[in-house]
């Protein structure tokens, strides 16, 4: 029996298997894209909350797809970088549409008196480690449509596993 005849005899079976494998891979991929995913964040910009590397977090994608207006100040979100569409970054929401924001209170990246109003459909985001973070101070408010998911919990390492609670406490509201 030559190799060729063996191949033709099993070709149909293998093709179906290949299609099934691709199908299964895409099922997992779209679950991760639309429902929830486990991610591996890296970089120092969220440092006290998420360490620079070696941690796994759970990312809830469904909320942002269905109800983007449910995101609150203090939520940690992942979004496509406005400056590089192939990068996904992770920051904390600081301002919702209509809020007045002081661009940089330290006066480092902008004069400390500069204030902006977040436009409709946008968020103002910032890293927890402000000194090491490129965020809305550099590229301005980000459109809601770029937001991909909200981080729910840290799941690895087990010792520091925790649910991310929203730490913001409103002082006063201006309706």
């Amino acid at each position: 029996m030559t190799w060729r005849s063996a191949f033709t005899r099993h070709a149909g079976k293998y093709t179906v298997t290949a299609f099934k494998l691709t199908n299964f891979a895409f099922a997992i991929h779209f679950f991760a894209e639309y429902v929830a995913a486990i991610e591996y964040p890296s970089g120092p910009s969220m440092l006290p909350t998420i360490s620079a590397e070696g941690e796994l977090v759970l990312d809830n994608k469904l909320v942002c797809r269905l109800f983007p207006e449910r995101l609150q100040r203090g939520d940690i979100v992942t979004f496509v970088s406005p400056l590089d569409p192939q990068r996904v970054i992770c920051k904390r929401i600081l301002g919702l549409p209509g809020d007045t924001i002081c661009v940089d209170p330290t006066g480092e990246k902008a004069p400390s008196t500069e204030h902006v109003i977040v436009p409709a459909g946008h968020f103002w985001v910032g890293g927890d480690n402000a000194a090491w973070s490129r965020d809305s101070r550099d590229y301005g408010p980000i459109p809601m449509a770029l937001v991909k998911g909200r981080l729910v919990a840290k799941i690895w390492p087990l010792r520091s596993a925790a649910v991310f609670r929203n730490p913001s406490t409103p002082i006063s509201y201006t309706p």
Binding site: F26, H29, F30, P68, S81, L83, P85, A120, I142
Partner: protein
């Protein structure tokens, strides 16, 4: 002998037989089983959608046409190849309302200098890295970059490549630019399109470092 597992296997076998005996059920399950591949084709390949609204007149929905245009949306060049060019017609997710999708034309790429139109507060803008400047073909009925500024490339969803319906305008978009207008039935439309293109290009100073 009935262990819990053998019982389970029996139930599974029986339910499989139940589905196999009922063709409508069988085909529903098969369609569900293979749906990830179909979604993948739409998500990273091609889709067909209607374009509504007047902001892209006369490229889409010109006054002479009765219904809406059916257009082929190409996601290979945006989501896989990440390739954006001037004069491409693209669908972007609106920066103002995340649930809305807009169809606009790319006017300028990162680094280009654009002379803006009235609603925009500044007269000349350099498009920042990772952004594009988009405009509708009909400047008076279009909510575009002159309203909300340069748009991040991450918001670009797909590129519009072919008009499929109505039949009399069937054909590729951007096909006219390759040649000078030919004497014929749609000479006036072609030369108008070339004129609009020249007008657009006059407002953009290209970034030479690309």
């Amino acid at each position: 002998m009935s262990t819990p597992f053998s019982r389970l296997r029996e139930i599974l076998k029986a339910s499989k037989q139940y589905v196999r005996d009922r063709p409508p059920l069988k085909w529903t399950f098969r369609a569900l089983y293979w749906s990830p591949l179909c979604i993948a084709f739409a998500h990273y390949g091609y889709t067909i959608k209607y374009v509504c609204g007047r902001s892209m007149q006369p490229t889409f929905n010109p006054d002479s046409s009765a219904g809406r245009d059916l257009v082929l949306f190409d996601r290979v060049s945006t989501k896989i190849r990440h390739e954006y060019r001037r004069d491409d017609v693209v669908a972007i997710r609106s920066p103002i309302n995340p649930r809305l999708e807009l169809v606009k034309r790319i006017i300028a790429l990162p680094g280009d200098t654009v002379k803006t139109l009235p609603p925009y507060p500044i007269e000349e803008v350099v498009v920042p890295p990772g952004h594009v400047w988009v405009e509708g073909d009909e400047p008076f009925r279009s909510e575009d970059s002159n309203w909300f500024g340069p748009v991040s490339q991450g918001l670009i969803d797909s590129k519009l490549t072919y008009i499929l319906l109505p039949w009399d305008r069937f054909g590729p978009l951007n096909g006219v630019f390759e040649r000078t207008p030919q004497r014929g039935r749609n000479w006036s439309e072609q030369s108008a399109e070339t004129l609009r293109k020249k007008k657009r290009e006059a407002r953009v100073t290209r970034n030479t470092e690309r």
